[in-house]
Symmetry: C2
Subunit: 333 residues, 2 copies
């Protein structure tokens, strides 16, 4: 795959995170489901913002975080997603380009403002997400740069794309273009509630091999197969998916394909500060390794290392260069 112009191209909701610390009872008072992502409208967004504490603004978005991780590892990366031509849209575009990601989706010049995610980080490091999609709603099949997709070794899509009305068509267009060019398509299931909203369609994507590589955490996997038993879900996954990676937090990850199951331990973490981006950065490490043709176990370790970096500080994007970190840990030459 190393001859492709772009190694990983991500398509996702372009979002700026607004991150604040919060106590658990704040989540309870606000009726928030701890650890989950809730879609909110503008009025609710304003209400939450008014109620929450002092915040920091950091570019986010699930697939966008992953793509930034790819670039930080030294990979050739591109992103497609929709912002508005406003201040936060400028922040999003600056941050993703500044790390070397190709980002050429034109911003919207009218309509809703750039999408925001209100991230509440509780003292245990868990994050609870409230997303106002805003301009991300306006991602359209026309925004899919077919040439870029056709040239990318892997096109990576977030399950959250199933929420905005036109993004689903954009998703399917990208998958078709990728497969027509004999490229791979990867999907993150994003969130257990997202799986709950789109279970049948996600299963269909897997069963029809519209998706070649699947990322899920335990709760997303359980939601997908509606079972609380991990082994049952993993067995079902193995039958249906070409290649799937299930992340299990501090228990590491399980990589499942038809012919083998590989377990990889998690990277050591001194102190969990903010779990935002853990899954996104795991996917970054794994996909980077895959695009470079590395062994699945090494891919899993790269994922674990990137995830470990991002959960030890506030924000869902790496604070240090992941390439150097991977080299220090003997995972890259």
């Amino acid at each position: 795959m190393t001859n492709a112009r772009i190694e990983v191209l991500g398509i996702g909701n372009a979002i700026v995170d607004v991150i604040a610390r919060a106590e658990d009872d704040f989540l309870v008072r606000q009726g928030m489901n701890k650890g989950a992502m809730a879609l909110i409208d503008e009025e609710r967004a304003e209400h939450i913002y008014e109620a929450m504490g002092p915040a920091v603004e950091v570019s986010g978005g699930s697939a966008a975080n992953t793509i930034v991780g790819i670039a930080s590892l030294g990979g050739r990366a591109a992103f497609i997603g929709k912002v508005r031509d406003d201040a936060l849209g400028g922040v999003f575009a600056h941050d993703i380009r500044a790390i070397g990601v190709r980002f050429e989706t034109p911003p919207a010049f009218e309509g809703a403002s750039t999408g925001r995610c209100y991230v509440l980080v509780t003292p245990d490091g868990e994050r609870t997400l409230n997303t106002y999609l805003g301009a991300a709603q306006d991602l359209h099949p026309n925004d899919i740069d077919s040439e870029a997709v056709a040239g990318a070794a892997i096109t990576y899509l977030e399950g959250y794309l199933w929420d905005p009305k036109n993004a689903k068509d954009a998703f399917l267009k990208a998958a078709t273009v990728a497969h027509d060019s004999h490229r791979h398509v990867a999907l993150s299931l994003s969130d257990a509630f997202c799986v709950d909203r789109w279970r049948e369609e996600f299963l269909e994507l897997i069963r029809t091999h519209t998706v070649d590589i699947l990322f899920a955490n335990e709760s997303e996997l359980h939601s997908l197969y509606q079972t609380s038993d991990f082994d049952t879900a993993a067995a079902a996954l193995r039958k249906e998916a070409q290649l799937a990676v299930v992340t299990r937090g501090e228990k590491g990850c399980v990589i499942v394909s038809r012919d083998k199951v590989t377990e990889v331990a998690a990277s050591p973490v001194e102190r969990v500060v903010d779990t935002t981006g853990a899954g996104d950065l795991f996917a970054a490490g794994f996909l980077f390794g895959l695009a470079r043709g590395l062994d699945h176990a090494i891919c899993g370790k790269l994922g674990g290392l990137a995830a470990a970096e991002v959960i030890q500080h506030i924000g869902a994007r790496p604070e240090v260069g992941l390439k150097a970190l991977a080299q220090e840990n003997g995972l890259l030459a």
Copy 2:
């Protein structure tokens, strides 16, 4: 002073920080003076932003950071400063109010956008500031809420206010109102280059007792008296200032008044991540102690503790509640 409605009221440039890591040679290439604050125009702001790496946005502004520190210590605090009615102005207003600071200055509805400071943090933790004042330029004497100033035990002004054209008059109006109500006026010298721009006027403020309490770091003090000898500068300061505090980084601080000189050691710091806000938070701890009638040595320790917290993470505002931190360290009951 504890009966005053407001303990410390700050007046300063309302700024949002845009913080990125940078190598020393980036500063050299950009012609930046390491560790200093440079005033920049909009064109230069755009140029720097384009050249710098991925950033985080955090509310800042020197006096505003101090006032947030006062509130975090449990003090009654207010702030006067000018933002535009734009996205970053909303961020600034949210963040300062969310921690309990009274902030009622109406935003500008036209003119320049909310002020921004591009903060480049080098690997040694030193920060280099590039400030686009924007709407902060429009702080006007009419924005000074005389009732609030008259009711505040201490009015705290930043030297940076001498840069925007109308802010100087706002500063002098506030000082007059404060003294007419038998309150105290404090000034931070802000930056050695700021002192260089306004040396004679700052000396005049001290000599005429327009300012009762002065904050300076070593380089500002040296710039004020145009000497590289600390003892010479400190002796001059002692003759002219009513009460002055000179911060000396890891060497702690020296508190100077006519009748005594008190030295206070710095708080231990595990790892310096970003020195942005060190002076601002020192002033917060000191002024909070002073407003509560505490001994100068305790005031210095509170300042050192608050400064130590803020330099151990990215951003110039405390990440943990300073009141609890001061209690844990036996400085507050």
